[in-house]
């Protein structure tokens, strides 16, 4: 983990509200784990913004960003060639478990699973969303050994239903689950995994100030009490998280 400045190499639109930026960051690109994040400075803002390292090759890291408020909107305007400061890689990534991995990404949460999928080599990666217009995973190049599937609430692409329904149908004994998405989805998955006695890991989100573990801004509730999303997470064992 270090403070760095990286040149923004490329900027691409994925959907109406989602874009991808590629940063030149050779010092971290090779070592970063799926689920780890960077704390990115958006010029002019008081707080940095946390983003999963969605993908990486030898020299670059890719962030996939959904426009949410002012910070992400400002980031969308940053031109290739600009330098952005960030701290990273931060936090603990996914720890692959034995067995076939089922990776479940709710919307932008899918960004947290791409690098894991690439590193696992063989697994199933499912992206869920309300309808096909929101699903951008086809624009990410992954090896054929990664099975890509979709789930949409309105049935316009892939499985018709949400990811909890998808998992209820497709989860098999011997699998393990990695998931990132809205809290409601994760809470539903947690219940399902508990019933089926299947291990899982969830990547959580919380508002952050320091991103390092110093300010206690990003606590979440776990069975062991408060934990810090930035330092103890963002990836937690599924059964540890307390959704309230």
């Amino acid at each position: 983990m270090r403070e760095r400045k990286a040149v923004l190499l490329a900027h691409e639109t994925l959907t109406e509200d989602t874009f991808r930026i590629v940063l030149h960051a050779p010092e971290i690109a090779a070592g970063v784990e799926g689920g780890q994040f960077v704390h990115l400075q958006v010029p002019g803002f008081s707080l940095r913004r946390p983003f999963t390292v969605a993908d990486a090759d030898a020299e670059t890291i890719t962030l996939i960003i959904r426009r949410q408020g002012r910070g992400t909107a400002a980031l969308e305007q940053v031109k290739p060639g600009s330098r952005l400061a960030f701290l990273g890689p931060l936090g603990n990534g996914f720890r692959p478990l034995p067995g076939q991995g089922l990776l479940l990404g709710g919307g932008i949460g899918t960004a947290a699973l791409i690098l894991l999928a690439r590193r696992l080599g063989s697994c199933t990666l499912v992206m869920g969303g309300r309808s096909s217009g929101e699903l951008w995973l086809d624009q990410v190049h992954l090896p054929p050994s990664v099975v890509i599937q979709y789930a949409s609430d309105d049935g316009s692409q892939g499985f018709a239903g949400n990811l909890v329904q998808y998992a209820r149908k497709n989860l098999k004994p011997g699998m393990w689950v990695a998931a990132c998405g809205p809290r409601r989805m994760l809470a539903g998955l947690q219940e399902l995994l508990r019933q089926r006695k299947i291990p899982g890991q969830f990547a959580l989100e919380e508002r952050m100030a320091c991103g390092l573990g110093a300010c206690r801004g990003c606590t979440c509730d776990t069975v062991k009490g408060n934990a810090l999303v930035c330092k103890d997470g963002p990836v937690f064992a599924a059964e540890e998280v307390v959704f309230s």
Binding site: L47, A85, A209, T219
Partner: protein, 301 residues
């Protein structure tokens, strides 16, 4: 003496730059980014007698030029501070101010007494906490309460006492004088301003705690004017805090009468800000051919 030395009366610091309590933990995380002993001192997260879980989330959000937080003094309590945090920090070769908080006078007394024989620069008593005995109004709003608390702590603890004042008062010079009369060795001015934000989408307050404390560049003019007022009202040193983000801000606080400064929120935007302020201040003093000592309070004359 070097230009950049800061004189706190009860001690001289190699420079006047320190982190603000709660923004720097116990320094462990930032020690991965720079050596802590380049700072004038380190100020720790608040310590209360027992562990505290803090407030429900969200706990932080951003406002124009500022940060709102409602951490709720989450900390692992006195025992963990003494056995796990302090020994590590004491090995880093940097003067330490331990920030102390509580909900009753006894809480402060208990923590101060337990820390009294530690090798510390001093204690920083955070008087912005809600006082359970007084219906949740913070300790720092009334001169008499401040006087009483500080004198009681003074009796049980031989360490230098820095009293940190809340800006949410009609006249900050009153608690400032109360603290001085009670035996404070210095004052930190200011803690956060009460503030809030509302999420227009959910139509609910953003913070789990509804209100929070506003910090960052947005509050700098308020902090500066309180340092100016307090520096005129008391004769003990003042540590300026609130919105410092660049070397010119440090100089403004020194000119207003601060003997040293603390930097909190702005280090969230730039985690290397503290060491940069040390070197920027060095260059500034060099260029202007003056010293911290000469700047302190110079705008009053």
């Amino acid at each position: 003496m070097s230009r950049i030395v800061a004189d706190l009366g009860f001690a001289c610091l190699k420079n006047p730059i320190m982190p603000a309590s709660g923004c720097f933990g116990w320094g462990r995380e930032y020690s991965q980014l720079f050596a802590l002993n380049i700072l004038g001192a380190v100020v720790t997260k608040a310590v209360t007698p027992e562990p505290r879980p803090g407030n429900p989330g969200p706990r932080v959000t951003e406002t124009p030029g500022g940060v709102l937080n409602a951490i709720g003094l989450e900390n692992r309590g006195l025992t963990a501070a003494l056995t796990e945090e302090l020994p590590w920090l004491q090995s880093q070769g940097v003067p330490i101010l331990v920030n102390v908080a509580g909900r009753t006078e006894e809480d402060y007394v208990q923590v101060a007494e337990a820390l009294g024989d530690q090798n510390l620069l001093g204690l920083e008593l955070n008087l912005s906490c809600p006082n359970v005995r007084e219906g949740g109004i913070s300790f720092g709003t009334d001169a008499k309460t401040v006087y009483k608390l500080v004198s009681r702590v003074r009796q049980v603890c031989p360490l230098p006492l820095v009293v940190k004042l809340t800006p949410n008062v009609t006249d900050i010079t009153e608690p400032a004088r109360g603290a001085e009369a009670g035996g404070a060795d210095a004052l930190t001015v200011i803690n956060t301003l009460r503030g809030m934000a509302i999420n227009v989408r959910t139509r609910r307050p953003v913070l789990g705690n509804v209100t929070g404390g506003l910090s960052g560049p947005a509050i700098k003019p308020v902090a500066l004017s309180m340092v100016w007022q307090v520096a005129t009202a008391v004769s003990i040193p003042v540590i300026g805090c609130g919105g410092i983000a660049q070397v010119e801000d440090v100089v403004e606080f020194l000119l207003a009468g601060a003997a040293a400064v603390q930097v909190g929120s702005a280090a969230f935007a730039d985690p290397l800000l503290l060491p940069r302020l040390v070197s920027d201040l060095e260059s500034w003093l060099e260029r202007e051919k003056c010293s911290v000592e000469e700047l302190v309070g110079a705008a009053h004359s």
